[in-house]
Symmetry: C4
Subunit: 208 residues, 4 copies
């Protein structure tokens, strides 16, 4: 049995949610800080300004992709927490680990924008998609195991959350593996998987 | 019908509001980070300090204008969310798209401050006013369509929100179009429209 | 009477409080970003590191003073909002004006740290204490006038809030005016007034 | 007895918690901003990229350690506030002092990453662990003294919170003192103590 102090720690899911919202908000906005714009001394006409902005292509792609990643993990964490009845200190630390991996996103985005043709940069970026996913998976299995799930959560929701993480992460891993053939193809695949999670369910729904 | 995981995602309007407040707070404060101040080595008297600060005119204008824009969109989103009874994953992603366009504001502000006489910079800035407006319009028509509006919301409020967005965006577009004549006139027009939404209703009210 | 859209805008004091907490949190933390530390190439011994840090004196003073200022205004706004029953769009925009002046604090701090012996820098810094105070005063008189104060707020609290702002601002103005004699004396006076609001009431209490 | 204004100030623990979550969120995310990545011009192969990232070792260690520190203090403050029934202005200012020391964390992390072999840098870093601990200790003894603790808080919880701070700070101080022998050993010891608070209770629990 944990000692008294550990039993009273980390009970507040509200504060965990507030800290998470804060970290996601800062990370999402900081991405932009790393975007470089041309300076006035380099540009002498409207056309040159457009050309200079277009030349920054890799950073726009890395930025858009990272916002999607952050949005997906934010939505995923929110879904989990909304089905958990109560916090514990272990759950708190699992989520702090999750948030730790989230705070790296601006850094691996910068790295990818700087080295968009390098497998090493793409591998690190993929790790930054894999690790938050692994932490969320751990969070959910821990919460199930420790009986922290809300009583009114249907049994099929429990499996659904694990399944969603496993399928998404398999797709991301497959996309990342494409970098051994071509880093451009790999990035395209990852963005398509992300867009699928952000948009496609709408299409799927309309077909039915 | 969406699959199970999509039905349980994105239900928490509280967390969406908290993420939004965080992003607006960071974006509003980051604007200042891009303001450059003179350095001690350039300035040798009180007069020179004032002159150096005054020479930074364009960045002060771009900054004030961007704070107004952010304030207007923050108030607009708050008004909408206060009339929505419940979130869905689609609504969540529409608002993540809205927030994505908001995170660009410090960037397009920096661009405008650097290239205040360029139509391209003004056009991009205008896009950054148009896109959040379009997302909010989409959010409201989606919420109406998906029956997410609170039951006690009067029917005339529904139309009022759409109308407000359409009129404001028409005025912004007209202001932005002035840049084909003169970018200074265009910026003045946009700021006047913004001040109208921030202040003028007080005047209008006192007249009645 | 305001039009329909203006009547439904800005009702949520919770979101105004959340935006304010976010802006204060970012501003308080950003102050540190502007603190420069010595680089490894300049320093070759433990003693030189201490000396290099001590040489940065003006920036530590400006930083500590700005954190105090932000803390005082955060506490002041919180006190006001806790006595207001409901928001309106005008109240929202008064507080957005207040927050606008708050976002300038990292900038005027940077300016003061760079030009600590310049009256112009101190004058701008003082403006950054005066303006938020003026906005809070306006907010409270507006709220009183528009009958937004909570019914259970004792009548003497109303006067107390106005009086507090007027006395504090008079002391700040007197402190700032000392810069015509000596900027060091002026900064000392302002810090003493701030410390009085942060700490002294404890002393006052113990005396009684 | 404090004057009227001081009695009505700082009552909202919710806003104090929100400000704290914001400051911790920004501080945790800002740490990454100071991490430098290699630039494209320095790197010509996948191997060189890995080598360049590995050469940044000290900054990764300082970063991980600081995230742990911030997580530990965030959890500690949350535990305290969850047992306090009501705020006062003195409690608010003690916590503003706590948050002030937290905002220094990105700075002392940067200093430690730049001067990882210097005792002065480690000493300042340790101060940044000691001061928040001291403020939290003060906060809890003040709250006990001023009868702000929730009525349903078991009497043994009160002692448990003080004991936890005293033991942890003794261990940190012992770890920091190792720097007189070797700064590497000192950093290792501090990280082990931190990991003990983040992870070890799980091991301890499973043994029982």
């Amino acid at each position: 049995m944990p000692n008294l102090y550990d039993r009273i720690q980390g009970r507040s899911l509200e504060r965990l949610a507030a800290l998470s919202d804060g970290i996601f908000a800062v990370a999402m906005t900081l991405l932009v800080l790393d975007l470089h714009i041309p300076t006035a001394s380099q540009v002498h006409s409207e056309g040159e300004l457009f050309a200079a902005l277009a030349a920054l292509g890799p950073q726009w792609i890395a930025y858009g992709m990272s916002f999607l990643t952050l949005g997906i993990f934010w939505a995923g964490q929110q879904t989990q927490l909304s089905h958990i009845a109560q916090g514990t200190r272990d759950l708190t630390w699992i989520h702090l680990g999750f948030l730790f991996s989230i705070t790296f996103m601006p850094l691996s985005t910068r790295l990818l924008a700087e080295f968009i043709a390098y497998r090493a940069a793409l591998g690190i970026y993929w790790l930054n998609i894999f690790l938050p996913g692994a932490m969320l998976y751990w969070s959910w299995t821990y919460a199930t195991h420790a009986s922290l799930i809300k009583a009114d959560t249907p049994i099929e929701v429990r499996g659904s959350i694990c399944r969603r993480i496993l399928i998404a992460q398999s797709l991301y891993a497959a996309g990342a593996a494409l970098c051994f053939i071509n880093t451009g193809a790999s990035i395209t695949a990852i963005v398509l998987v992300q867009l699928n999670y952000a948009i496609a369910p709408r299409l799927g729904r309309q077909k039915k």
